[in-house]
């Protein structure tokens, strides 16, 4: 069962500091609204009449403006500004330098995720799912492949925009294992609504194991069904747009599918990664995510079945 990805209940150092700031602001705001509302209501209650009273110039009242309009707001704003600056400084950079950089590239409408490494053959590429080790800061480099998107995992950190022509840098850290939902936060066109992702925080050992696996190419198919599926993939339009490392498929238009079976969702968080949804997605993506770049791939039913068997073996 998913919960709301609220940024008031957070699981990492950035989120926690910002949530504290957020709660303070919400409480201060509520008090201000309450006080002014009471002043309006009480004023109307105590002074209000049904008929027009004679006009007169009652003295006084300037004190209201000086105290309520200038002094009190100034004090509140100074407090708010100091809290803001303190929080801003606290979340600017992690306590220890991150040992890991993930490059996230936004595309209409999915996320390309690369684990950077000095040696190019050790770069692991995946999509729509970012694994991070619990308790360790991770540097995130964000870039845009087409239009502006915004990287946002509310329970961990605020937004960083992905802007064509520049690379922005941020960082995240999760202190508790779990799956945190993220979603594109800058309107990016037709399917902006269906451009989600997840951040999976796991214990460092499990993470290292996962990353090592992601760096591997796909295992060559061994069984006849899988070989048939691989042949369908290579022989159909699939290979034009997708990469499966270790095979001839090196398309760059869609997500890297080398370890597709290990992901929780498909179509950028739109559907669970199950056999049925996978079949439905391949057969008619436009019905599930109208406008997606992925075209319907015309396949025989048997072809589709072996293709899915093959895709589900990619782990």
């Amino acid at each position: 069962m998913l919960q709301s990805p609220t940024y008031l209940r957070t699981f990492g150092p950035i989120g926690d500091r910002v949530a504290a700031l957020g709660w303070s602001l919400l409480i201060i705001s509520s008090v201000v609204v309450l006080v002014v509302s009471v002043l309006v209501l009480a004023g109307v209650w105590r002074r209000g009449t049904r008929s027009f009273a004679p006009v007169e110039r009652a003295g006084g009242g300037l004190r209201w403006i000086v105290i309520g309009g200038i002094v009190v707001p100034t004090v509140i704003l100074v407090v708010v500004f100091v809290l803001t600056m303190v929080t801003q400084a606290a979340v600017a950079s992690p306590a220890t330098a991150p040992g890991l950089t993930v490059r996230v590239t936004g595309h209409q409408w999915w996320w390309e995720v690369q684990y950077l490494d000095p040696s190019p053959d050790r770069i692991a590429t995946t999509a729509n799912e970012i694994h991070i080790p619990v308790g360790r800061p991770v540097r995130i480099e964000v870039a845009a492949g087409d239009v502006i998107h915004s990287f946002w995992v509310p329970e961990l950190a605020g937004k960083t925009d992905l802007i064509p022509g520049q690379t922005n840098v941020t960082w995240v850290q999760a202190d508790h294992p779990g799956v945190y939902r993220g979603q594109c936060a800058e309107y990016c066109g037709l399917q902006h609504a269906k451009m989600a992702m997840s951040v999976v925080a796991e214990p460092p050992a499990a993470f290292d194991e996962w990353l090592a696996r992601q760096r591997q190419p796909a295992a060559p198919p061994s069984e006849p069904d899988l070989k048939a599926g691989a042949a369908v993939f290579a022989g159909s339009a699939c290979a034009l747009c997708h990469t499966i490392r270790g095979t001839m498929a090196v398309g760059r238009i869609g997500p890297d599918l080398t370890h597709l079976a290990g992901r929780r969702t498909i179509a950028a968080g739109t559907l669970p990664n199950t056999r049925g949804y996978l079949a439905g997605w391949i057969a008619n993506p436009q019905a599930l995510k109208p406008g997606t770049v992925m075209p319907a791939v015309p396949l025989e039913s048997t072809e589709l079945q072996v293709l899915i068997t093959y895709l589900q073996s990619l782990n």
Binding site: P5, S29, R47, V55, P154, Q183
Partner: protein
């Protein structure tokens, strides 16, 4: 040549003479050619309100789609066009023009003049507004309404990512509209400088005048930024230029800077006159002058100025350096102070007065509460790290609706209840008004307060659907219900207006016993506004008998009649001493024809039929020369 202007007292033959001079003739020429600020003001009000209903309809359809998760009522194409057009309509075609409507109607009456400084330009502003609105809405006819949001971030709007005419309608439509707004702003400023009643020094101006004056200056400085942005967008799309295209050496953030340098002052442009309406109305209903007039006037002007220093708070997540975001964060908090000053001036006026609980006052009281809610949520978005969570979520949607509905729509409805009797001579229904207020106020809060919660629960804005299981369903259902209740409130308002026009009891010149000059003439005012031009001795000319505000007294029943032609009095800008008699133009078809020619030009630009664009341009030129020939000054005489 010089004319004598002896003080005259109103007489029946004077009324006849002035009417002959000022009244617009009936028939087609009168309809298309009138330059009467009252007719133009009413047209602005009706047209802007009609656009508001269209924008409201768009919202109503969207709310149906969002009532529950995974609804399939609307395709993403349709939803994206609807939310974009909703924003464009409300921000550009409703919020500012409706205030122009009030200003157009009220200004000359409040200032004690017979018209605006440039009555023909005034007519031109209206026609340009109408035609640009129709131009933008004609996009629906070809199924290509703008679909990239009202702030239209590049490069999503560039040709490569936005084929079709959608965003050409946007770029050209807004360019078209900026002409109208700019012309209007110039007109207001010169009217204030030159056409006030003698004696109306700047410390005697109603706050509403301060509000519109500030926004008019803001328009002159801010609007060109939008003009530049829209021209660049059109050039990028149509001629393959590279202003916002990173691969070609441009930058997407250039759009954001230009748009928000315009956009944030624009927020104040659409609220300051509305706050002014409140600052003038609350004292009327509290039976006393506004507490802290000088504070509120200064707050108005300083908000307008500070409004130019906060645009980057829309861009906190774009990777700007901390130093820069900190500066804009501080500026965005400082701008709260003038708003707080205004709020406490109103509160003090209520507490030190005797508020009469009539419908306009109810809207004013509700407005104060909504204003504060919108204000504090604005402070939250100024706190950079928290803003990076809030921005682009429904929290911001809630915030901007509290600001725009709270500080624009509520004062506007209050303004109608207050001034419609002046315009039509008939009162609105008080009991229906009360129902109207409570449905709008409760419906609005029921609908829009939960949006804060949706945002805090992590719901991004501008999504046509959302999955189940994220806890967003209930808040959205409540929001939709509240939105429909609010819509019922708007319908009640329309019913009340129709009732009033047909059956409303006669209002008389001053039904609220209000202090300002517009209440000194009949309801509705005659074409010439005042039989004799008044001169002003205090801030509250109609309350002078009851307030002891200095020794000077306004003179309303004697003054220059100027009954030899369309004439009004010109003054010196600072001292408000009479300096000349201004000859005002006759009705003319040129404004209408000029606006029409510009419409032709814009359709030419839209369709790339350059011959049409050039023909339109030549017509524009011909109309302009015809209009100005032999010049507005009687030199040839």
């Amino acid at each position: 040549m010089a004319a004598t202007a002896p003080p005259a007292a109103p007489t029946p033959p004077l009324h006849e003479r002035l009417l002959r001079i000022w009244e617009t003739p009936p028939g087609l020429f009168g309809i298309l050619g009138t330059v009467d600020h009252k007719k133009i003001g009413k047209r602005y009000l009706v047209t802007a309100f009609a656009f508001m209903l269209a924008g409201g309809l768009e919202a109503a359809v969207m709310r149906a789609q969002l009532t529950a998760p995974n609804q399939r009522l609307l395709s993403p194409e349709t939803y994206n066009q609807l939310f974009s057009m909703h924003g464009i309509t409300m921000i550009f075609l409703y919020a500012s023009p409706i205030l122009s409507g009030f200003s157009n109607y009220i200004w000359p009456l409040m200032l004690g003049s017979r018209d605006m400084a440039f009555p023909r330009l005034n007519a031109l502003s209206y026609w340009l507004f109408l035609f640009s609105g129709l131009f933008i809405y004609s996009s629906f006819l070809v199924g290509q309404a703008p679909d990239r949001g009202w702030f239209a971030y590049a490069p999503l709007t560039e040709g490569a990512f936005s084929p079709g005419l959608h965003m050409d309608f946007y770029a050209l439509g807004l360019l078209f509209l900026t002409v109208s707004t700019t012309v209007g702003a110039i007109n207001f400023i010169v009217t204030l400088f030159k056409l006030r009643a003698p004696g109306m020094s700047i410390n005697r101006l109603p706050i509403f005048i301060w509000g519109t004056l500030t926004t008019s200056f803001a328009v002159l400085f801010a609007m060109p930024s939008l003009t530049a942005a829209c021209i660049m967008l059109y050039f990028d799309r149509r001629f393959g230029m590279h202003f916002f295209d990173a691969a070609g050496g441009g930058h997407p953030l250039l759009w954001q800077h230009l748009f928000w340098i315009f956009g944030h002052p624009w927020v104040y442009i659409v609220v300051l006159p509305a706050m002014g309406i409140m600052s003038d109305m609350i004292p009327t209903f509290c039976r006393r002058p506004l507490v802290g007039y000088t504070f509120v006037a200064l707050a108005t002007v300083s908000t307008g100025i500070l409004g130019f220093g906060v645009w980057v708070h829309h861009m906190f997540a774009t990777g700007l350096p901390d130093l820069s975001t900190d500066f804009f964060s501080a500026a965005s908090m400082v701008i709260t102070i003038p708003s707080a000053v205004a709020v406490f001036a109103w509160l003090a006026t209520i507490w030190h007065g005797r508020p009469v609980l009539r419908t306009p006052f109810l809207f004013a009281a509700g407005f104060i509460v909504l204003f504060v809610i919108g204000g504090v949520s604005g402070v939250a978005t100024a706190a950079v790290p928290f803003d990076r969570q809030l921005t682009d979520t429904y929290f911001v949607v809630a915030h901007l609706h509290y600001v725009l509905v709270g500080i624009n729509v509520f004062p506007v409805i209050a303004g109608f209840y207050y001034w419609l009797p002046k315009m039509t001579g008939r009162m609105l229904n008080e009991r229906l008004g009360r129902w109207n207020f409570w449905t709008m106020f409760l419906g609005f809060n029921l609908g829009f307060f939960p949006m804060h919660i949706a945002g805090l629960l992590g719901m991004p804005r501008r999504i046509y659907t959302y999955p189940a299981g994220l806890g967003w369903g209930t808040v959205n259902l409540v929001t939709s219900i509240g939105a429909y209740v609010f819509a019922v409130g708007v319908v009640l308002f329309l019913v009340n207006v129709l009732w009033s026009i047909r059956r409303g009891p006669p209002a008389g010149p001053n039904p609220w016993d209000a202090p300002t000059l517009e209440w000194a003439t009949t309801s509705p005012p005659p074409a010439y506004n005042f039989e004799v031009l008044p001169s002003i001795g205090s801030r509250h000319p109609l309350w002078e008998d009851r307030l002891a505000e200095g020794a000077a007294r306004s003179v309303l029943d004697r003054g220059p009649a100027l009954d030899e032609g369309r004439e009004t009095l010109g003054i010196t800008p600072l001292d408000a001493e009479p300096s000349e008699i201004l000859t005002m133009p006759e009705d003319s078809l040129y404004p209408f024809l000029l606006a029409l020619s510009l419409l032709v030009t814009f359709y030419g630009l839209l369709t790339s039929v350059w011959a049409l664009a050039i023909a339109g341009g030549v017509l524009v030129l011909a109309m302009t020369v015809g209009w100005l020939w032999p010049g507005p000054e009687p030199e040839a005489a």
